[in-house]
Symmetry: C2
């Protein structure tokens, strides 16, 4: 962690510029303000660990700017990324005493965090906070259910098509998508190797479905054909 700023928990201070806050983020802001919980900002450098699998879950986080990957490892190093967390997203909300995945900054990242214990306390007296915690967890579950279908049953091309549509929805700006993560991260998210991801992207480029400004700057030219590929 490199910087530390105690901020007022007022909602207006919490939205990152150009990062429209999604429903979970709104819920997080409501929680933070309703309960008088103290929100703190921290920054992490690229590839820095935010918390590790199995560590006590002391805080809940919201991405202010940057991007975070959460993943599980097998003993031999095989990695499954469960989700990418972008500006506005909440992560680290693992009910129970410990984190079930490791969280790392993909790029230099600033997060807002609140003490998990104070959230639990707030939930104990404020039914709205309790409800929001539930729906945030439920929305993680929905994503996981969709992702199990992708991992278990989609082909490489379908996986990449789904990924592009997801990222387009979540971080496209003026039609352009600036991916924060490398090909290996994408592969570990989709259950593929980085080479297979690269080949699928090249093929979509050849077909004119997307255009590269650079390897990580992508413009989708035909979302419909991409959606058709997505099974």
């Amino acid at each position: 962690m490199h910087t530390q700023t105690i901020t007022a928990p007022a909602t207006h201070a919490l939205n990152a510029p150009h990062a429209p806050v999604s429903p979970p983020a709104d819920q997080f802001s409501i929680i933070a303000s309703c309960s008088g919980v103290i929100a703190i900002e921290f920054s992490y450098r690229k590839d820095e660990e935010i918390y590790g699998e199995g560590e006590p879950s002391e805080y809940v986080y919201q991405v202010i700017r940057g991007a975070v990957r959460t993943y599980k490892l097998l003993t031999d190093g095989r990695r499954q990324i469960g989700a990418f967390h972008l500006a506005g997203d909440v992560f680290g909300l693992d009910p129970g005493t410990s984190h079930r995945l490791t969280a790392e900054a993909i790029t230099d990242t600033t997060v807002r965090l609140v003490k998990r214990r104070s959230l639990e306390t707030a939930a104990g007296s404020n039914i709205r906070v309790a409800h929001n915690l539930w729906t945030m967890t439920a929305s993680d579950l929905r994503h996981a259910e969709d992702h199990m279908l992708l991992l278990g049953r989609k082909t490489a091309m379908e996986k990449v098509a789904t990924f592009l549509l997801e990222m387009d929805r979540r971080l496209a700006n003026a039609g352009m998508m600036a991916l924060p993560m490398c090909r290996r991260d994408i592969g570990d998210y989709l259950g593929l190797t980085l080479e297979t991801v690269s080949r699928a992207l090249s093929q979509l480029n050849e077909q004119g479905i997307l255009v590269f400004s650079s390897a990580r700057q992508i413009v989708l030219r035909n979302r419909q054909r991409l959606a058709d590929m997505d099974a």
Copy 2:
């Protein structure tokens, strides 16, 4: 649905014989009794649909006896089973207005169900109910996270080993496991074909790690070697 019995919501009536009720089930019973919510029993025949993906989620269910699969389909029929629900397990708790997976009885199955709306009401006034709903959803999320790792990164043999250990833990009785589901269901749960599942089981049998009484009656002879395979 074939039988319908309105039952008293008392906890003692809800536990299936020889099926120790797991924590989520306890929570469900607490909810049902604390809130005065009416619990009803229904039975479904083998392969009967309990609810469909996208349908309004009117009820939440607990398996009394039998087994249930919940799954998602792709347009061409490829299927991903997200979870198997055995005696004591709660399913259908999808926060939001509609079910995100389809639920079907694997064998003839009896469930207890409560109106989702009455749960929400109870959660609005009873913080303990709200907390239980959250932790039940969180426990589904934990399973989904573990399963993403399996689907995305484990080999066929590792998947089958994990499956056997999970089922052994959840339904072994006197060291014997009576699987309610067919090889195709197992394959669709593990992201494999039924043939690959069959071959892996045969190989474990040849190695003396398990013994078949019949195709679905399995005794694990060496849990340690199975755990070693599970990565």
